[in-house]
């Protein structure tokens, strides 16, 4: 029951929000009048909602389709995994019931799903890699659509011991406990092996994934924190000349903007 003093308009909109997002829509299907009365609506409103019960259930389908579509686009592998286990619909139901989608930007629906997985830990007892798999899938959208920014001034082309590497703002240096990049729609369970990935977009804007060694990943992470490449390489036991060659390759691929003094 809404709080006393809740505007009539808010009670109506609250009812529809419950109807389209909450799992208890069966209550509306079975007894729309009682469902409406429980939400503080009077007999006239109850009668109107009963009269159009099927149309409001159509709205429920429309909303759920609108919010599921971007998930199907963004998470083909996660979807393949959960559909095989007959759990996809449960996941979508639980996600919608959480009311995590709050952004007016439709593109934020898929990232909201990952945020919900992280908060709720839904399904992760059964699939311990689920959050990481979904995170990796949505990373593609994050990288490809990242806002363009002008490069910072004073960038240098060559790496050196007293310089740090400057990542492209769209690039992500990430680590996972499962080899999520190896999962496919056909084989959606990722191998149980750690993965260090540099995800970026190339000059044409296409999503690319570079598999790193843990030491190179750590070198990039330390560089992002401001530690010069020379000392960082020494502490990590990485051959600096080999690392510089690798960093030049990352730069040529568009993952790095260049270098700057530490």
């Amino acid at each position: 029951m809404p709080e006393a003093g809740t505007p009539h308009l808010a009670r109506l909109q609250g009812l529809v929000t419950d109807l389209v997002l909450a799992p208890e829509a069966d209550g509306f299907r079975e007894d729309a009048a009682a469902f409406s009365a429980e939400r503080g609506l009077g007999p006239d409103d109850q009668a109107a909602l009963v009269l159009r019960r099927d149309r409001w259930l159509l709205y429920r389908d429309l909303v759920r389709t609108a919010l599921e579509d971007p998930l199907l686009d963004a998470f083909p592998v996660t979807h393949a995994l959960l559909v095989r286990q007959e759990a996809w619909t449960w996941a979508v139901d639980a996600f919608l019931a959480s009311r995590t989608v709050s952004s007016p930007y439709y593109r934020d629906v898929a990232p909201a799903f990952v945020a919900w997985l992280a908060d709720s830990r839904w399904g992760q007892d059964r699939w311990p890699f689920l959050l990481q798999l979904a995170h990796f899938e949505v990373l593609e959208l994050d990288v490809v659509r990242h806002p363009d920014e002008p490069p910072p001034p004073g960038l240098l082309r060559e790496p050196a011991s007293d310089r740090v590497a400057v990542l492209d703002p769209a690039a992500r240096n990430v680590a996972y406990g499962f080899a999520v990049q190896a999962a496919t729609v056909e084989a959606p369970e990722p191998p149980s092996a750690c993965a260090w990935l540099l995800c970026h977009r190339d000059r044409d804007g296409t999503f690319r994934v570079l598999e790193l060694t843990p030491h190179v990943s750590a070198l990039l992470a330390r560089s992002q924190e401001g530690q010069a490449l020379g000392p960082a390489a020494a502490e990590l036991g990485v051959d600096p000349l080999a690392a510089f060659e690798l960093l030049r390759d990352f730069r040529d691929r568009g993952a790095l903007l260049g270098f700057r003094p530490a």
Partner: protein, 280 residues
């Protein structure tokens, strides 16, 4: 800049092709700011190039104008900046609500047809209009059910909001037609007595009949049918001025050439309707 003729909604599958053209193949494009602001990348750069090259009208999707949720300052700031950058002559939104209690449905949900809802919506429209750098239009939506007990008809509700908010009207011809079929009224009678002087833009689109539900759904997923094109001509003749018309297509999006051919057919409808006015 005077906008007229039949424009097209610029959609993701066509951006690369449109960007490669030397000039716009349409009088104007319509674009949703929500799909552009705050993003980047190769496709975004192509789109930005098109928006700089061609004439653009903006149309919002998710401000939930009839809702209660506050508009985030950064969302408004981005919107304002985008409207200024595109040089759009106005900005429009749907006469509906989409979010409640912070939960966004990304669906155009109908307002109850009540005096309270009129007052609430008018207040929200005025508040939004005060923040925008261009005039604001409201679009009448398709609705499949009344939300609660109505105190007035949908027609009276739209009229009272437009008059109360003193804003422009994006008259969606297809939505009037869809509602007329679903709720059993004459669309021309619905339009009679409405404030056509407020109409600054028209929308036209296709729809889909759901046999099982017995309802016409405003899908924007099919070509415009003759009754809707005929209603467009009827409205244009009564307007008697070259209001820009936008052909919407959001689902089952065909090749650009197919959409351009449909646009050209509607442009002929448009030209004939206004030629009739000129010779009357």
């Amino acid at each position: 800049m005077t906008f007229s003729g039949v424009g097209l909604g610029l959609r993701r599958p066509h951006i690369e092709q449109v960007a490669a053209l030397a000039a716009a193949p349409v009088p104007f494009w319509e674009i949703a700011p929500e799909n552009v602001v705050g993003t980047g990348g190769a496709r975004h750069r192509m789109l930005t190039g098109v928006l700089e090259r061609d004439d653009v009208i903006t149309h919002g999707l998710s401000m939930s104008i009839g809702g209660f949720d506050a508009w985030l300052p950064e969302v408004l700031d981005r919107l304002v900046a985008f409207l200024k950058a595109t040089g759009t002559p106005w900005h429009s939104e749907h006469l509906c609500w989409s979010s409640f209690g912070g939960a966004h449905t990304h669906e155009l949900l109908p307002m109850p047809f009540t005096r309270e809802a009129v007052r609430h919506t008018v207040t929200r429209v005025k508040a939004l209009q005060a923040r925008l750098p261009v005039p604001f239009l409201l679009e009448n939506i398709s609705y499949y059910a009344e939300l609660g007990a109505a105190e007035m008809s949908e027609r009276e509700f739209v009229l009272e909001v437009l008059e109360g908010a003193d804003c422009g009207w994006l008259l969606d011809i297809n939505n009037v037609y869809v509602n007329s079929v679903n709720h059993g009224f004459d669309p021309k009678a619905w339009l009679a007595g409405m404030p056509l002087h407020r109409v600054a833009q028209l929308h036209i689109a296709g729809h889909t009949w759901l046999e099982a539900e017995g309802v016409l759904l405003d899908t924007h997923g099919a070509p415009v049918v003759d009754p809707v094109a005929n209603l467009l001509a009827w409205v244009l003749a009564r307007l008697g001025r070259p209001v820009p018309v936008l052909l919407e297509r959001d689902h089952e999006i065909p090749e650009l050439a197919v959409l351009l051919a449909e646009r050209e057919a509607l442009q002929r409808v448009y030209d004939r309707a206004l030629a009739g006015v000129a010779h009357a």
